[in-house]
Subunit: 138 residues, 2 copies
DNA sequence: CAAATGATGTAACGATATAACATTGGAGTC
DNA sequence: GACTCCAATGTTATATCGTTACATCATTTG
């Protein structure tokens, strides 16, 4: 399996930026925040992101075109897919996995003779805090 | 509710391009295929795509940054979410929905006090035909 | 040390999507 | 028909996201 590779300076900086952030960040926002650390070009960010994705330390949210630190740096096995809930207002992300959902996908795949390799599961809506805050504002 | 708006020329051309295609198409591929019909700029495509998305006649696949015609132009209600399976090899798309999956999301949302507005559910893998074709090739 | 490997820096480019603004075309009045 | 309104269109420019190409530096390993 994947040896727990020690992170390089660039990788550590990008990971720390994501870990510190409250919301998912685009690659260019990360670049901007790391200007003072010597980052100059997008590729410096994308290369670090690639390694962190491989290591399972971060995720890319396709629906936002942005990256987020993994909430519980686990091995994301094929049999333990992860889903994300993203608040449209505060942009905070909840990461969860549900064997029952995985089971339904597996059942559909078996019926259809489709071999699942990966999945993108992102739900969008309003978190409890943002709904509470918005109740009196309409 | 949404009146079944008659499509404009541009919208009809974009929809026909997607309906005819075997795979999802990027906006720029659509633009290219409609050059002969007078299309010149990305916005002509994106504006038509926006309307078709509103009308529920097409979908955007976030994981591919591409668009696909809806296989069964239904009203995609909040209570009847749709999922996609995308073959990595032939790029064909299967559109399906599963009340049990929706139920699991609803259960998670209830537990977490999250209000779901929309979802992106895209699984990637190999279809039956492509697996069969690849079996003797390794 | 020498070779191999992986990370980095930099510039240029490609791909995806939107902003801004002028113009056109039809639907409903008068 | 003339007038008004509003949606759709055409066009240019720009914003945003991501990759190719290539030279350089660091680390490991024999
Ligand atoms: Zn994770
Ligand atoms: Zn929120
Ligand atoms: Zn559909
Ligand atoms: Zn296939």
């Amino acid at each position: 399996m994947s040896a727990p590779h020690r992170l390089t300076r660039n990788q550590a900086l990008v990971l720390e930026t994501l870990t510190t952030a409250e919301e998912p960040l685009s690659a260019y926002v990360i670049l901007d925040r790391l200007k003072d650390e010597g980052f100059r070009a997008p590729l410096q960010v994308y290369r670090a992101l690639d390694k962190l994705l491989e290591a399972g330390l971060i995720h890319r949210l396709d629906s936002l075109k942005a990256f987020v630190a993994c909430s519980t740096p686990h091995e994301h096995d094929a049999a333990d897919r992860v889903a994300f809930a993203i608040c449209q207002k505060c942009a905070r992300v909840w990461e969860f996995s549900d064997p029952a959902i995985e089971g339904r996908f597996a059942a559909w795949a078996a019926d259809t003779d489709f071999e699942i390799a990966s999945a993108t599961i992102e739900i969008s809506g309003l978190c409890a805090a943002c709904r509470k805050a918005g109740e009196g504002a309409a």
